[in-house]
Amino acid sequence: MNRGTFEIYDMGEIKGFLKYRRQDVGYRSVGERVLDFKEVELPLTPDEIHQQTARCMDCGIPFCHGAGCPLKNCIPDINELVYKGRWREACEYLHSTNNFPEITGRVCPAPCEAACTLSINDEPVLIRHIEFQIALWGFQQGWIRPKPPARKTGKRVAVAGSGPAGLAAAQQLARAGHSVVVFEKDQKIGGMLRYGIPDFKLEKWVVDRRIEQLAAEGVEFEEGVNVGEDISIRYLRKMFDCVCLAMGARQPRDIAVQGRGYENIVFAMEYLTAQNRRCAGEEVNGNGVVTAKDKVVVVIGGGDTGSDCVGTARRQGAKKIYQLEILPRPPQTRPPDTPWPGWPRIMRTSSSHEEGCERLWGVMTKNFSGYERRVGEVHCCRVEWSKEAGGWKIKEPPGSDFVLKADLVLLAMGFLHVEHEGLIRNLDLKLDEKGNVPADSYQTSEPWVFAAGDTINGASLVVSAINSGREAAAAIDCWLRGA
């Protein structure tokens, strides 16, 4: 009995990473998936998952957990439990740090995998998808149930915004026994999760399911209410012990060049939101009519939002899609200036890219030209980057100008900060030089006002928002208990 049982308790399999290769998630075939907005990923089978967990080495220093994951998910422990088939505990473990693993399991870029020790000289453990599978299994088995608090504290908290930060904060606060009301100015709860992320990455029933859980735990939702406008600050102050701002960082970065005023130059988020509404059967108005069907689309900005635009435009039936990025084309492997375990600047190809688009690097947009109110051409040039004393410098090589014909231009150059109009202004909060709401341990310049997520940090990842929401909730809980 003493022999042979070794592998049962030992982490994964010794040298499992030598035995099994990383097996990435599959996708539905391009031809099939561009015809609809359904999720594109194809989950692995349980056997495959078992093998993938066997690759985890249970490092003495798990960089995935300690350096990669903003939520500090206990990745080695979770992998081990899955490896041993103890899914229920894995599910419990996962939820002890992450409120919405079914969401992060779908949309997270997985900084944990970049930090995985195996990524140094091999392929990292398939962390994100294992997370996805745990959540999948957890819901199927009914293990993920509402956890209403044993007793209520009688304290009331308002949460402004229902994106990942707001929802995580709300759930944590409700479970600690506080009465929580989430205000959302949009028609439905979910914020960026609902309106920012395309359905082909995150179908919205996933969000709805989680919202039901929150509701069952006692969280109240007020949709279509713009706090600070529809509800006065005085009312808020009176009705709630404190408020948590979780409105994201929705102010997009604009491009101030000639011709910006053409009406078919739109911000990516407006474009994506419209499609999300369309998918959900919501009413679409204004710019919402914009569609890429049979158009030549130029997406400006090489990041994830840009990629989402590419995927959306493809599904809408675009004729040709360009994606422009001002930075040079990244290398295939990790360059020395973004060392492990940080997030590497490497060439990434998303499922949307695979669906067909032309990606151009080191390209700057100089101006737009068009006919009447519609853009017709994007005028670009090549840029070269060089490192100098004061930092990176860009140079325009002479004669590198070129023109792209365009029927639709999508601006996906990132976000600046939280929208200042409305609540922020009315609360008279201090702002930092970047335009974010500064917070000391999640508390703003107004003691009863807390903030979480992109509102304080600027635009970032969903996981970071969830983490921020959790930590803000802990700070609020502490403040409420002390108060």
Binding site: Y9, G60, K84, T117, A176, D477
Partner: protein
Amino acid sequence: MALKLKNQGLYETRYEHDSCGIGAVVNISGVKDHSIIEYGRQILLNLHHRGAAGADETTGDGAGILFQIPHEFFFVECEKAGISLPEPSKYGVGMVFGLKDAGLRERCDRILEDAIAYYGMRAIGWREAPVRSDCLGKIALESEPSIRQVFVDGAGLEEEAFERHLYLARRRAERLVRETFGEEGEDFYVASLSCRTICYKGMFMARQLFAYYPDLEDRRVKSALAIVHQRYSTNTFPSWRLAQPFHCIAHNGEINTLSGNRSWMRAREPKMSSGLLPACACPHADRGDNICDLLPVLSPEMSDSACFDSVLELLVRAGRSMPHAMMMMIPEAFGLKYHISTDKRAFYEYHSAIMEPWDGPAAMVFTDGRLIGGTLDRNGLRPCRYLVTTDGLAILASEAGVVEFEPQRIKRKGRLRPGHMFLVDTVEGRIITDNDIKSKIARQRPYRRWLEENRIELRGLFDAPKPVQSDPETTLQRMRAFGYTAEELKMVLTPMVLDGQEPIGSMGDDTPLAVLSDRPRLLFSYFKQLFAQVTNPPIDPLREGLVMSLMTFTGRRRNLLDETPQHCRQLKLPHPVLANQDIERLRAVNRADFKAATTRAVFDADTSDAGGSLRRGLDLLVANAKKAISDGASLIIISDREISESKAAIPSLLAVAAVHRGLLNEGLRGEAGLIVESGEPREVMHFCLLCGYGANAINPYLAFECLEQLQRSGEAPADMEQTAAADNYIAAVKKGILKTMSKMGISTLRSYSGAQLFEAIGLNGPFIDKYFTGTSSRISGIGLEEIAQEALARHKAAFEIRAGGAMELEFGGEYHFRNSGERHLWNPVTVSRLQHAVINNDAKAYADYAVAVNDQSRKLCTLRGLFEFIAGEPVPLEEVEPASEIIKRFCTGAMSHGSISKEAHECIAVAMNRLGAMSNTGEGGEDPARYTPEPNGDSKSCGIKQVASGRFGVTVNYLANAKELQIKMAQGAKPGEGGQLPGHKVTDEIARLRYSTPGVTLISPPPHHDIYSIEDLAQLIYDLKCGNPEARVSVKLVAEVGVGTVAAGVAKGNADEVLISGHDGGTGASPLSSIKHTGCPWELGLAETQQVLVMNGLRDRIRVQVDGQLKTGRDVVVAALLGAERFGFGTAALVTLGCTLLRKCHEGACPFGIGTQDPQLRSRFRGKPEYIERFMNFVAEEVRRIMAQLGLRKFEDMVGRVDRLGVRKAIEHWKARGLDFSAVFRLPDTSGGKAIRQTNGQPRKIGDNLDWEILEKAKSTIENKQKILIEMPIRNVNRTVGAILSNRIVRRFGPQGLPDGTIEVVFRGSAGQSFGAFLASGVTFRLIGESNDYVGKGLSGGRIIVQTPEGSPFAAYENVIVGNTVLYGATGGEAFINGVAGERFAVRNSGATAVVEGVGDHGCEYMTAGVVVVLGQTGCNFAAGMSGGVAYVLDEAAAWGGFDTLCNLDLVELESIWHEEDKKLLKDLIERHLHRTGSARARQILDAWPDMVGKFVKVMPMDYRNALQRMRAAEHRDTETTPATEEVFR
């Protein structure tokens, strides 16, 4: 005695050690003659090398002689002084060391005379003993006492009674002087007071003893017997009174369990009484039968040997015979593996209910004036050889050949075997054999029947553990209350349950000390295990476990000085772990003479005054325990089962210590056994601590419930029987306790119990003094208040409502990093920044790293984090010594090729050689190919070559290619244990370098089998200096309290450098409990070492190195200021090569090709020498910047400047603020120009080696390989003959040496230790005579022949001709031994061929290659740990059980000799033996070969056979390209 030892700084006198040479000589018929004294003198002079000299090289550590009162001499001398002596034996003589102050001396004299009168005798006069003070060394002279003899008239008392009365009078005088004068009277000392014997001793080197006392040279001084002693002390302030012999004994060794023995003696005192020792009438007597002149039996200033002597004397005076008392105090092992009689076993078992063994290495010679004898401890850890002459003389001594006789005069030669006794009765005029003595004593009372009728038998009371009835609902809650973590379940308990083994880990410890941790830590974690290093050896619990025992008796103890059947009316436990069922049964027992009472160990949890509440809880607990005793309980169960929301558990260690201490103080400890029933203990360390502070048995009820929990969760297989889980768990705990005891060199739990072999770190003085009295705690720290707060924090966390989603148990993070867990110095930030820095040569990234590390340590990870530099006038950076110079002081840690890959090992060597610094081979040998430089000028040869207990690949060529030779006494991660290399790392290549078998796990012996004491270490240092006269020798120690005194001993042993390792150092594989709980931070060990070396005036001649988690320049500077001159980096160097601390080295699964031997993984190695070079540069530059700030230009100016270190102001941490570093920062007294760093070297001591003479004679041979035959005499003082010669041969001719038989040297006489050490090929040594220990140590291809001289009257095969530990670590060559060898013949033999005519215990232990033929008897435990090679043993013992009962069959199989191959090999070897030695035994065997061959047994290691088969199979596969090994390690 002007120089008195005082505790100062980190130095504590009680950690002094000594060790020695001893001897006894007797005329068996009792004929008195001066020649006996003369022989004593010869013995001492010839044991001179076993003693040591102090810093002045003329003060010895102590020598003395004890012999019969020379009546003829005294009669005349006393006449002259006007004293008229009565008949012999009608008067007694006292040897009195008096105070220098005449007035005080006078008053002491009166007290002594009054005491004599008090017991009805009369002092009839004083004689000034003539002395020649001018022969003394400076230090001895300063402390010289007045030495006088007092003569006592026995007033007609019969001899025994007279002796007893003198004893009482002496004890009375000692007591009264102590009471009257206190410290002032400390120098009053009665060296002997007896009507039979007298003792002359003092602070001498051997030769000074006789020069100092002219009496001893007077031919009228005659005696029939004498015992002599020569001391080697670790300090240079030995006092006169510590010289031996004492009143009855001379001791070579060390009593490790002294602290426990002291406590238990105190516990026994209240019940002591004896009809022979009359009641005292003194007014202090508070009870009728008091013998208060004798109390306390042991006083604090007594050394271990003195304590032993004192108790032995008490037992003897109270009526037991001296051999009987010896058997009680040093019982031999009586486990079932020993062939001993039932009565003898019963005798030992009965006495184990009365007294715990005084455990530790011991060779004792003893005498009562009529009987004289010697005995060895159960492990036989000190050599003791004897000879008997045809004219009735017997000589017993630490070495053979101390007195030379012509061969014809020697009737018999032998050695004392472990646990055996040698006795001569001068009245009966005969030698009494071990068996005769012991059988007689064992049958003098019906001990066996007494035991059978009285002992409370386990089997009647308990069954095998049954499934636990627990309350699963609250299990997790209670686990939280006792601080269980998820990590503990996974990493500690699960392996224990599944495998019955302690879990293994790697890469050391980088978490904070308990006192620096923010997390509430268990009280257990404030203690560190002590361990044996140098001054006594650890025991080998794995291979020599048969000497160890966990059996205990517990219950009420009775009068020590009497023996009755009721003495063993106690509960006998086979081990100290009680299952949950057991304790319920115990509770139910209720007999008039045996019942158990339960006391509750809880305190109020609802309180704002945590400390007060805990104190009240403790007081109540102790009061209840006392009450239970007065109600008649003989077992007290200290229980925390009844915790609740309002009642928290008292930390179990505190509870047991408080009760133990409380009962001791009241004189009640002997009345009852203590059993702990607690939810807290689960790890091995916990059990050890509880036992060490007084628990007799432990029921870890929650740990058992936890096993259920593991099954419920699926961690342990559900089909595993609950009882099997419990059995495995208990088995793991038992193994762990044995291992912990063994580290301290202790064999039995009975003597470990209460011995307090721990030091505390971070507990304050008042707290320690109250509950853990006598434990060292050197930097103060927290007390009851904080401990209560920690307990309550855990308690509250268990009972408060937790936020939804949180896990039931916290992870912990003690072993693996977790964000929410314990802090680690190596964490994602430090590892990644350092790697970035060295890969991209990025100084900024290094700075980030250094800040992160230094800040981490400021965030209280390490003691040095609490220090700050005291700035001086800054100097410009350019003026500071360049980095390239500083780097030369750096070395890398001892990481063997084996634990790490070839690629990593060579990369480190290349880097360090480029820098002019040194890398270290570690304990794994080195490929000779690396001695040739690379074409590009790089060298892969490690500067430092390590010599560890496994002696892997330690050939003379290895030694010859070293710049420095390092003796690894201990390793930071697992001091007291041997290195481990898991089988999957032993590839073909590794096996070749280590001379072992591929695929077979290598565990090195815990001790160096040639270092059982400090004088042995001096011997090995001498050996290595001979093996390479140009290399420096360093000794690696691990920091623990007392390491400074060991270092002083090392300095006296002539080492050039001492390395102090921190407890936190890395490792490739080590039990987790060792990584976490053994040793102390280097800051403490280094500071202590520096202080003690300076105090002793030894610092100038020895360099000090430090290692253990050194990471930055700041670390280096702190270490330098504390006294280090060199610095070792281990883990940090690996991190630069890509290690990210997976802590998987022990699994060989390193994905970076470092801690692995898997070719697939090794190919992933991406480290470069440049990375290490850059790291060393960065560190040196950081050092320079700090030096500039401190205003120091030269590195050497920093060394030892503790005045430039201070403690950070305003330490806010709630636990750390109680720390006090004044002892660490104490500047040692440097008066008299004592150096604080190395300024000179060690004196060269190999100049008088016999080899120089041989080399001179063999000059032409060394030039041109001419054959030569040399003859010369040899004596026991000629040590390590052959090593220098061999060094010169391999330096000239390379590892292959000379052609066979080129040089032959014939010696006649008794050779000293290490005869033929490292003998190279082409040399034959023929010794006609005998030899001491370590013959053929590290034999490297040469041939050794030891033959009995022609004309010896005895049969060679019945007599001992060579000592212990022959052929240790031999890698090649042959030995033919024409006689019997001692213990551990061919231990770690890895290639030599040997024929011998009989061996002692543990023959062929740990052997990995070679062939051994034994033509006679073997001792027990043959072939333990033997994984390679073959042995053939002549099994003539079939009549009484056969060889298989003596052989350890764990790894080997016994086969008959039927293969022609075997027959031929065996016969050939025996023929060669005959040819070489002329052995009569060999001739006999060959003459009857067809009959005899059938009596041989072949000892074949199973793994070896398998490996051979695999390799053979692989060879036959012609098309197979895979090397054979891949299969082997897969």
